[in-house]
Symmetry: C2
Subunit: 325 residues, 2 copies
DNA sequence: GTGAAAGCGCTAACAC
DNA sequence: GTGTTAGCGCTTTCAC
C-alpha cells in the first residue's frame, strides 16, 4: 500500500501537503493537481488506521442492536446506513442478542477502536455507558431509553398500544388480550399500558390481568402465549401483539387453529414485511423504523460535529393501518 | 485512556512487558500479576487502533452482503458472528444493496482498515478482489462464486431447484412455473436450471419458456411476476420460487386472489421465518444459511491463521420439507 | 501556502 | 525474561 511519503516524493511536495490535499485544507491548485495525479498513479488510499490513531477518532459509527434477525431493526439499520454513508461514515452493526455482556464487549470495542459514536438500542436498562460518555463519545439511544441524559429517538409506544386496542374495540371486539415483551423492557411495558388504558375505559368491569401476557419479543414467544390464551378458560376474541415477531407467532398459531382474522381480531404493533396473509386482514400500527434510524443518525452526526445543545428525545408518531375486511 | 506506559510505570516494568502480558507471551508470574493489577487500577484497555497500525492487521472481519433485510443473510450473519466472536474477532456487517459501487467502497474500507479478512456474498460476478488478494487478505465467497480461485461455500442450487420441482410433480401438478432472480446471478440461474431439468424430463412436450420468469430476489419482484403469471393466457397450476422473498411476494398475491396452496402448488427455496401461513401448506427447500455462515467463518479463520492449502468450495446440501396438506 | 518534525499507542527486533 | 528502541502512516503544530 502506497503511503503519503511515496505520493509526496512522486509529486515533488512534502507529506504534509499530501495530507492537506486529502483533508481539503488550503493547497495551491497546481500542487493539488500534482498530488492527485501522483496518488492516482500509485493507487494510494489514505490509511484509516493511522489517521484514526493520530486523530483519536475514526469515521466509523457503531449500531448496537438486540436482534439482527428482526426486520424492525434491519429496517432501522438501513436508515442509519443511508445517512451515515452519505456523510462519509461507515456503519458497524453489532448484534447483542439482548445480552448485557455482549453489549458491554461491543461498547468496549467502540471505545478501543475510537469509533466516532454509537447508536444504541439497549439490551436492558442496566447498560453501562459511563466510559463511553466519559471519553466524550456521543451516544444516541434508539427504540428504548438508557437511564442516561443523552439524545434519543423512540416510538410513541403508549399511543401505539392505544391505537391498536381502540381499533379492535371499534371493530366490535370485547375481550381483547395483549401479548407483549419482557416486562422490564420499556417498549413492552409502555405498549401494554396503552392497551390497559383503553380497555379500562371501555370495559371497566373486565379483569385485565388474565388477558395481559408478558413474553419474549420473538416468534416463539408469540406462539407460546397464543397457545396459552387459546387454551385458557375464557379465551379472548381479539389480540394486540406488541411487536411484529410476537404478532407473527400469534398469527401462525391462529392459522393452525383455523382462527384467522377476523374470526379472532388481530392488531399488530410493527410492520409485517414478510407476512403472507391477505394484507388487509390485520390492523397494523406502522412503526417508522427507517425514519427512526435516519433521525438517530442525523442527531449523532450533529453531536460528532460538535453540537452541544441539551439532550433531546424525539418521539416518532405511528400510523395506524386498519384492517379492511 | 490509560496507555501501556502508564501501566508499565505503575507496575514497575517496561512497556514491552505490559504488551507481552496482553499478548500471552512468556512473562514471569509476579510481573504478570503486577501488570494485571496496574491495568485494572487504571482501567486500561489496549488501544486496538495502535495495535492494528503496528501489526498491519486487525481483529475485525468484514461480512459483505447484498441485502441486510433478507432473513437469509441475517441468519448467515449469525453463524459468522458466533464463530468469529468465539475466536476473538468482531464482525462488521456491510450492506451493498447489490450495488457494485457500494461493494467496492466497502472492500476498499476493509483494506484501509486492515481488516483480517472478508466474507463476501458478491453483488455481481464483476466484483474486483485484486487489491484485497494482492495484499494477502483472505476472502471467502458465500452463496455465490466470484470468478476468483478462492475458498467458497455455496448451496446445492441445482439440486434445490430439482427437489422443489420434483416435489410438486409428485403432488400431481403439471404446469409448474419458476420464479427466479436476475439471470446474471448464479444462484438464480442454477436453481432455474434445476427446475428446467426436471420439467423437461417429465413434460417433454411442454414449452418451458413462458413458465420461466426472471425477476429480482425481492418481495416486490415476486408479487409482480406472480400477477403476470396469473394474468397470462395459460396460467400455471404450481410455482417454484427460487428464493424466500420471491416466495413471500408470490404467496401474498395468491392469497389476495384466493388461490392459496394447495389450489396453486407452491414450493419455495429458502426458509420463510416470518410467514403466517399454516406452516405445512408450502413445500420448503430449507437452505442451511446459518451453517453456511459458520462454515465460511471457520474457513476464513483458518486462512487468517496461515492455512495455505489450495482453495476449496464447500457445497451444502439442502433439506426438503414437503407440504403436508 | 508549504515544509520539518514530533508523536498518537502499540509491537517486535535486538540486546542483555 | 526483560528492557531499549525504532517505527507502523498519518496529522498537526510551529516556523518560515
Amino acid at each position: 500500500m502506497a503511503t503519503i511519503y511515496e505520493v509526496a516524493k512522486l509529486a515533488g511536495v512534502s507529506p504534509a501537503t499530501v495530507s492537506r490535499v486529502f483533508n481539503g485544507m488550503g493547497v495551491s491548485e497546481d500542487k493539488t493537481a500534482a498530488v492527485r495525479d501522483a496518488a492516482r498513479q500509485l493507487g494510494f488510499t489514505p490509511n484509516r488506521t493511522a489517521r484514526t490513531l493520530r486523530r483519536q477518532a475514526s469515521e466509523v459509527i457503531a449500531l448496537v442492536i438486540p436482534d439482527i434477525e428482526n426486520p424492525y431493526f434491519t429496517e432501522m439499520a438501513r436508515g442509519v446506513e443511508d445517512v451515515a454513508s452519505e456523510a462519509g461514515y461507515s456503519v458497524v452493526l453489532c448484534n447483542t442478542d439482548s445480552r448485557v455482556d455482549k453489549e458491554a464487549t461491543y461498547l468496549q470495542i467502540a471505545i478501543s477502536e475510537h469509533m466516532a459514536g454509537v447508536i444504541l438500542a439497549a439490551a436492558s436498562d442496566h447498560s453501562d455507558l459511563d466510559e463511553l460518555l466519559a471519553r466524550g463519545r456521543p451516544v444516541v439511544a434508539v427504540d428504548r431509553g438508557t437511564g442516561y441524559d443523552i439524545d434519543g429517538v423512540v416510538m410513541a409506544n403508549r399511543q401505539a398500544g392505544q391505537a391498536a386496542t381502540e381499533n379492535l374495540v371499534q371493530a366490535g371486539y370485547t375481550r381483547i388480550a395483549c401479548l407483549t415483551g419482557p416486562e422490564h423492557v420499556e417498549t413492552a411495558y409502555e405498549r401494554a399500558q396503552g392497551w390497559r388504558g383503553v380497555m379500562a375505559r371501555h370495559f371497566p368491569e373486565l379483569d385485565l390481568d388474565p388477558l395481559l401476557r408478558y413474553s419474549t419479543f420473538r416468534v416463539d414467544g408469540g406462539r407460546e402465549v397464543m397457545e396459552e390464551l387459546l387454551g385458557s378458560a375464557e379465551p379472548p376474541d381479539a389480540i394486540v401483539a406488541a411487536n411484529n415477531l410476537l404478532g407473527v407467532g400469534a398469527i401462525q398459531v391462529l392459522t393452525e387453529h383455523g382462527m384467522t382474522p377476523p374470526k379472532m381480531g388481530v392488531a399488530v404493533i410493527g410492520s409485517l414485511p414478510f407476512t403472507t396473509l391477505t394484507p388487509s386482514a390485520v390492523t397494523v400500527v406502522r412503526l417508522p423504523a427507517r425514519h427512526m434510524g435516519v433521525t438517530a443518525a442525523k442527531m449523532l452526526l450533529g453531536r460528532i460535529g460538535g453540537d452541544t445543545q441539551p439532550a433531546r428525545t424525539v418521539v416518532l408518531r405511528n400510523e395506524v393501518q386498519p384492517a379492511r375486511i
